[in-house]
């Protein structure tokens, strides 16, 4: 590959807009309950002292509460902190309303997570009105049409990466652009960790070659970047910072999976097995709902002491029934050599094929099995999730509850319409 490294900042106009809903879950809770507005609140996976804070409100952030902190730590920093459990349905509805609103400006709307969208306005009439004008209008419409308490930070740039970087420049409620005129001034203010994708280890590598700021990174000879990253990543950073697009990748569906962070540290198979069943039931239903079958299964478990064990297996037959998937995953489950308190369990299926490719077998009764699962899934659609469940799942009503997946927004519509 030939690296073209002597490049100036791109001449391309800023047609990409990145929209980030500020303190998403917490702000939506404050939108729903006006009595919480102006107060430090946090949405946490569990409201117990060890629960993980997933979204502090803007007021809580100002007092030092951060994502990833334990509830206990948050309350130490902010004794009046109101902790709320997540309400995924509400967040998905806001996501869908926002998506619908943004589609008035362009059909090139790409959800990046539950609270982040990318828009490409190139070639759409809205672009001719000016990106800043459109940005301000979107902010006003969100307040008028979705919720008066909701604020978004909007970034504009010539590529996805710079649009996202611009959206991080001012929070909350920002509207910023990185372009040919201002990139130098902005890069001089930023350190490498301000860039999405650069954390501690990469910063140390950059520091070793004398790069302290993003401006240093931009002006450094390519050889220095190569020395720091030792990979094609060096070239990608070179292009990103110059406004060239290299992140326009849409990932297809490769697997289905569900995981669960246990609030109680179970270690015995008889306690963990019903949770495993529920995880498999959820995964199996999603697999069939999207008309897939699989030829691979995977089980992963992490323990309270920090240990981790996982195993995957390819299967000879195409699997689609939750029962078969459970049988295979259970074999992995009992192979785990450790019996100690569990923090997290995860199951997934991979090597997907369309379910229409099912091979009829002479003795196995594939059609009978398929019809049975069609009936079971129909009962689920009529009566709701877990209308019919295996007896193994008894006692798991409060386990494996609905959660928002980090980054994954492929099935948001399904949750609302089902």
């Amino acid at each position: 590959m030939i690296f073209q490294t002597k490049l100036d900042f791109t001449q391309a106009p800023g047609t990409i807009m990145h929209i980030d809903l500020n303190s998403c879950f917490a702000t939506i809770e404050q939108q729903a309950n006006p009595l919480l507005r102006g107060r430090p609140i946090a949405v946490a996976a569990y409201d117990s002292p060890n629960g993980c804070i997933v979204a502090p409100s803007i007021e809580a952030k100002q007092l030092g509460v951060k994502v990833g902190m334990r509830v206990r730590e948050g309350k130490l920093l902010c004794p009046g902190l109101q902790v709320l459990p997540p309400d995924p349905v509400k967040y998905r509805i806001v996501h869908l309303k926002l998506k619908k609103l943004l589609q008035d400006y362009t059909q090139q709307v790409f959800p990046r997570s539950i609270d982040e969208f990318e828009l490409d306005l190139a070639g759409y009439p809205a672009y001719t009105r000016g990106m800043m004008v459109v940005g301000r209008e979107i902010k006003q419409r969100i307040k008028a049409e979705i919720g008066d308490h909701l604020t978004v930070s909007i970034g504009i740039g010539p590529n996805r990466f710079l649009a996202k970087t611009a959206s991080n420049l001012k929070k909350p409620d920002g509207l910023e652009e990185i372009n040919r005129e201002n990139y130098q001034a902005i890069y001089q203010q930023l350190v490498p960790t301000d860039l999405t994708g650069i954390a501690g280890r990469n910063t140390r590598r950059l520091n070793l070659v004398g790069i302290q700021s993003v401006w240093d990174m931009y002006t450094a000879p390519f050889a220095h970047l190569w020395t720091a990253f030792h990979s094609i990543g060096a070239y990608y950073w070179c292009l990103r910072l110059r406004g060239f697009e290299i992140d326009e990748v849409e990932w297809g569906r490769k697997s289905f999976g569900n995981s669960y962070a246990l609030p109680i540290a179970y270690d015995k198979p008889e306690d963990l097995s019903p949770i495993l069943t529920k995880l498999v039931e959820k995964t199996g239903y999603r697999l069939r709902h999207h008309h897939y079958a699989c030829r691979g299964i995977h089980y992963a478990v992490s323990f309270r002491d920090g240990d981790f064990w996982h195993q995957g297996q390819k299967t000879k037959d195409l699997l689609f029934s939750s029962r078969e998937i459970y049988q295979k995953i259970h074999q992995l489950f009992i192979r785990c050599p450790y019996q100690k308190p569990v923090r997290n369990m995860a199951v997934s299926v991979f090597n997907l094929s369309p379910k229409d490719d099912l091979q009829l077998d002479l003795f196995g009764g594939t059609i009978k099995k398929e019809n049975l699962y069609l009936a079971l899934d129909e009962a689920t659609r009529r009566w709701g999730r877990f209308a019919v469940t295996p007896a193994r799942m008894m006692g798991t009503d409060n386990n494996v509850v609905d959660r928002i997946a980090f980054g994954g927004v492929k099935e948001v519509e399904d949750f609302i319409t089902q």
Partner: protein, 86 residues
């Protein structure tokens, strides 16, 4: 303080045919009548085929999460909060 419950509740609603808006305006809880001042958020979800409409509403000093089962047309209150922290 926020309290999660699940109980039937009496709700007075209004429908405006010009704006196609359907909103709860008053509710009666524990023999006391509350006038709804703000509808913070309205959303819906499905449980199987049954559609539920959820109204997060605030009165002068209380918050109620009201759910309307569109199959039975019954209202339930699923969350109550006052403006005191937990």
């Amino acid at each position: 303080m926020i309290q999660t419950i699940d109980a039937p509740i009496s709700v007075i609603t209004a429908y405006n045919h010009l704006t196609s808006q359907f909103i709860p305006v008053k509710l009666k809880w524990h023999s006391r009548e509350y006038t709804i001042i703000t509808i913070g958020f309205h959303h819906h979800y499905r449980q199987g085929r049954t559609l539920f409409h959820v109204f997060s509403v605030a009165t002068e000093e209380m918050f109620f999460r009201l759910e309307l089962d569109t199959e039975t047309l019954m209202w339930r209150v699923t969350e109550i909060a006052d403006d005191l922290p937990n």
